[in-house]
Amino acid sequence: MRFLLFAIRRLAASVPTLLIVLAGLFMLLQFAPGDTVDALVAQMGGGDSAMMEQLRKYYGLDATATVQLVRYLTRLVQLDLGFSAIYGKPVIDVILERLPATLLLMASSLSFAFAGGLVLGVLAARRVNQWPDGVISTIGAIFYATPAFWLGLMGIIIFAVNLRLLPAGGLEEIGAGHTGLRRAVDIVWHLALPTATLGLIFLATYLRIMRASMLEVMTLDFVRTARAKGLAKATVLRRHVLRNALLPMVTLVGLQAGTMLGGSVVVESVFALPGLGRLAYEAVVQRDLNTLLGIVFVSALLVICVNFLVDILYARLDPRIAN
């Protein structure tokens, strides 16, 4: 019950933010030269002005910006995200089609980065300033500094083109008609490279945070007490240090959930995955206002949800926060 109230309060607090974001984005796109009809005509390679006028009317672009904004917000209040110009169907359908791929990619690479960062961070902290620490930190820094598209393309060239171990792109084998477990395996196989690409970039951040926070916790009094009462080194690390060192990591997950949504534009394009990032990019290029606003709306909801989960996790890790 307390959680529910907490959840409702959190959601209510984010409503004004959402409205400001949506209205702001609407205004921003009004400033962008060209509209969705220009983008369409660009794609077609030409069109006469009578046809363009007809299309503007069809997309409701003949009204003034204010009227369009009011129309949009009125629809939004009725939980209607409108009609997508690129896809010719309701925005909500378009987004729901894309959401699974994005969530899958985000969840898998976030878990990968989190788990990898945790393990490597602990290893580095245990051997601080010795060679394993040096190696781990250097590798982390290299991945951190590498652009996602380059890492993805190199992954494709090595593992798909040269070694022929993994597929070059796509979410699953097209038209193979796999079902059940076979399909799941197929998707995992296809997502291996994109997950590694996106995850490796975030890994470095987690690694460094974990290492620093481990080192800090290890100097605290309660750790000395634990050691003094004769606990094994591994037990001290696992039961006392790790748990406390995890708090900043969890904070980071909450913060990066949003970044991951944006960061996946590049990875989705390189690996031809049908995710929200690419949809957003396409929506900007094609000036598809409804779709873009819809994505922002859904992404904002996602970030709010993730942060809510993080808050709950805090309470579990450190009971002092719950009180």
């Binding site: 060209g34 005509v41 046809m51 299309l55 896809y87 089609e97 070059a168 097209i174 390189v270 031809a272």
Partner: protein, 531 residues
Amino acid sequence: MRLTRRDLLVSTAAAALAGTRPDVSSAQEQPKRGGTLSVHLPGEQRILNPAIRASTGVYIVTSKIVESLVDLGADGKPTPVLATSWEATPDGKTVTFKLREGVNWHDGKPFTSADVQYTALELWKKYLNYGTQLQQYLDAVDTPDEHTAVFRYARPMPLPLLLRALADLGYIAPRHVFEGTNVLENPANTAPIGTGPFKFVQYERGQFIIAERNPNYWRKDFPYLDKIVWRVIADKSAASAALETGQIQLSTYSALSLADYDRLKKDARFDVSSRGIEANAFNNTLEFNVRRKELSDVRVRRAIVHAIDVPFFIENFLYGRGKPATGPIPSSSPAFYPGGEVPYAHDLKKAEALLDEAGYKRGADGIRFALKIVPIQNGEDVPLLATYIQQSLSKIGIKIDIVNLDIAGALSAVYRDWNFDLATGWHQYRGDPAVSTTVWYRSGSPKGAPWTNQWGWQSDAVDKLIDDAASELDTEKRKLLYADWVKVINEELPIWMVTERQFVAATSKQLQNHHISPRWDSSDWHDTWIS
């Protein structure tokens, strides 16, 4: 990317052999039935209906599902598809098409002249880009019987122009599906129903489109392929990787990067060529806004052209793919190409002299005047050319600012707001100057129509030549009119065609009977097979 010297030798030797003896092996082999062809689709298509959207991105998918009245044969001449024969009256105002009998739509209904009548009047004339212009004088389509369609025009329509244009702008949609509905919202726009060799199965947005073999196709025992899959791959490098891993077998209309085409050219597994895409030539362009005082002087326009070394640009930025243009009609269009030289060769001294003569002396800082250029980004080479122009013109004292916009922004800046001094992009030539080329020069185009004359430039002589040629029925006279037109254009230089280029395709050598007609990528692929 490990490549031993031996691999390299073997592959270059094989490529050389393949180049000198084309298709020797395939000619001897029996066509094989079955298999799936996977094709690269670089971008999402909003609509899959070639009767209301004319673009190569639509054709590459839909021309296998929906059929046109005519297509272009291997010799570049119109060949029958849904129309079996055609005839024009001497006054050029009536064109009669005999239609193929025994053809059924994918939903089982018969194809008749009523479909042609409806599509021509309700879709081509009202919605189809370029079709609205081509068919603007189409008054009526009579249907004396189920397999005859008589097109009646208010003004003479040259039959060769109509037939050439109909290869692209002559796709027929089923009347019984579209009649009485909102055409733009009809579900058949994304789930097309046609008469072609392949039936539409599925369009998974952002991922793929699938079509399967039509067992009741009117060409008996065709097609060979069981299935065609179009994979949406937006990233160019990822698309070449997909080609190399065999995920796709074909990427066409220059959808890969020029660097990758150059690399794949040396790979024995692929044909990299412009063969079979000749019907779509294009130019890099430089548009002048002559509302700008300096640019209204033809000497300044000529000076700018003299300052740019086109062969250097082609060699170093386009990997040698292309040649300097001699005018708005490309040499790949023998029916209209008037021949001739590049009108203004690279000559910096002459450029400087012309600018001095026009009264624009260099200032104290060496600058004569400043202009802004808007690149209209149809392809990766457009921003490169903009930069090259910037550097070239700085040598003759013209300072250039590049205004970077994406394509929707650039189109509205240039064509709707006239907010540019120079612009550079692509002009596409579609087989006949009257289809989409003369609109770049004819005055009177409404403000906002993209890829039309919005340069503030007008010439009565040019307008008259364009109008006369569009309705001239004598083929020879028509060619001469266009030759005169090119001469005037090159003299006046309202816009400059910088290069003359063709699209490139990379095709897996597993694919047989590929690129055998001038618009093969937009043809029906009924006789294509995989070995």
